[in-house]
Symmetry: C2
Subunit: 274 residues, 2 copies
């Protein structure tokens, strides 16, 4: 950075699940102040739509990249910020949940020696967003209204036995569960294995929610029991929620009671599960 | 409802952790359209500040109530909506995470017989918000960047042995963990017991984040190891994050790597844990 130059800033921002109405004002403001926006192509497109919807703003350079190059993208963003640019890295949902925030810190930690000092000194901020499981839960009712866990099914990131062990322990703990990245073209079998695991550890009447592309024009919500679930219900844009053993239906709504294991706190409802 | 009247609507809305800049536009719009706002006093005050910041709007009736009367509050909101009013129930954070959404569905399920049909027929919607753990994680870096779980420590809602078992299983699964409601005046001992449990199941260098009142003027963030943690670091306004066994520091940032248990994916960093 030359003397007198504005220092660079790297903002990692969550765009929420899709709708502009679910983007926080602080994320919108960060995009207005950006000189460079970096991200996976569909998220850069979404950021550009938001930026255009806000009207007047200085020119922005849009840096869209392919999926699965998170570390390269993080390094590109850090290099731009080190040149005193105002860089926003966009993620869908929340940047801290299976998205770009961890990749940025990994890139800082693994910085090339000649960049390490500059990258560690950067003004980095992370702006939270509405993550997919919470948007999906809201549409379905309150399936995550009691203790829950959140698991990324992408086995690019960890071996399948780690996932299997976590699902088993989560079922033993009777957590409600949220699963991200249930299927992809390269891993069509992952979700089949998950359903088999869930069937080994949970009762067949356990409620599930398949929430696809929530808050976008492609939104689709399916509620069913574990017995009724089939692998084709999940695709790359689906988040899958699994209730705990108390999760129930009231009308079209799925909810998990706040109380658990306390005598007399929740009268058994007749006809409240399918 | 009389013929010709607008049907009532019940919206359960998440105000985020505190800052107006973290309230989504759809929640702000719901408040603008409300005839009645129902909630715990400090959240009603926050909704009123937001509503005032937006300028002109029709008159709103503000219904503030005390803590721990969630079901009464839900019933009041349902009764108002059944009178064809536009009711917004406000929660801090996300309404589906240990907040009012589940209470509303519990109240619908347990409706008095003479109200059951009307309450089930209501136009109910849940609007997600930035929940405390994600706001806290963003401030700290990306401590929830890998599989994690979320546990409410309030033992008003479940017996302590259920909590203890879940923490043990979560540690076995090597989940990062987020704890809500770590302490209250009525349960000062709960967090002491949690620390003892964590020390029984996790290594002393495990990283923790104590995030108090994130995004408000009272915000305070403390990062320490499990060995250094003490019960006075948490109060009623604190969310506590615990990393998994790979969670590390880079500069002032705490992050959990995306990769787990894969040979060679993450070089061990020297000096990256305290």
């Amino acid at each position: 950075m030359s003397p007198g130059q504005t220092p660079g800033r790297l903002t990692v921002a969550g765009l929420g699940p899709g709708a502009l109405a679910q983007v926080t004002p602080e994320v919108a403001a960060a995009l207005q102040a950006a000189t460079d926006v970096v991200g996976y192509l569909p998220y850069v497109e979404r950021a550009r739509a938001l930026w255009q919807a806000q009207g007047q703003a200085p020119a922005v350079a849009w840096h869209a990249s392919d999926n699965r190059v998170e570390l390269d993208r993080a390094r590109q963003a850090l290099a731009l910020a080190a040149q005193a640019r105002q860089v926003v890295v966009v993620s869908s949902g929340d940047p801290g949940v299976f998205a770009m925030a961890a990749a940025v810190f990994e890139a800082i930690e693994q910085a090339p020696p000649e960049q390490a000092t500059a990258w560690q000194a950067l003004d980095v901020q992370v702006l939270p967003g509405i993550t997919a499981m919470l948007a999906a839960a809201a549409r379905a009712g309150a399936p995550l209204g009691h203790d829950f866990c959140c698991i990324n099914l992408s086995d690019n990131l960890k071996p399948w036995p780690v996932i299997a062990r976590r699902v088993q322990l989560a079922a033993e703990a009777d957590f409600a569960m949220a699963f991200y990245n249930p299927r992809s073209r390269s891993r069509p079998e992952g979700f089949v294995r998950l359903l088999a695991l869930l069937r080994a550890h949970c009762e067949p009447t356990r409620l599930m929610v398949f929430a696809r592309a929530v808050s976008t024009p492609d939104e689709a919500l399916q509620v069913c029991t574990l017995a009724e679930a089939s692998p084709d219900m999940a695709d790359m844009r689906t988040v899958v929620l699994v209730g705990n053993s108390s999760t129930r239906l009231v009308g079209r709504w799925v909810y998990t009671p706040r109380f658990y294991g306390l005598e007399g706190t929740l009268p058994a409802a007749s006809g409240s599960t399918p």
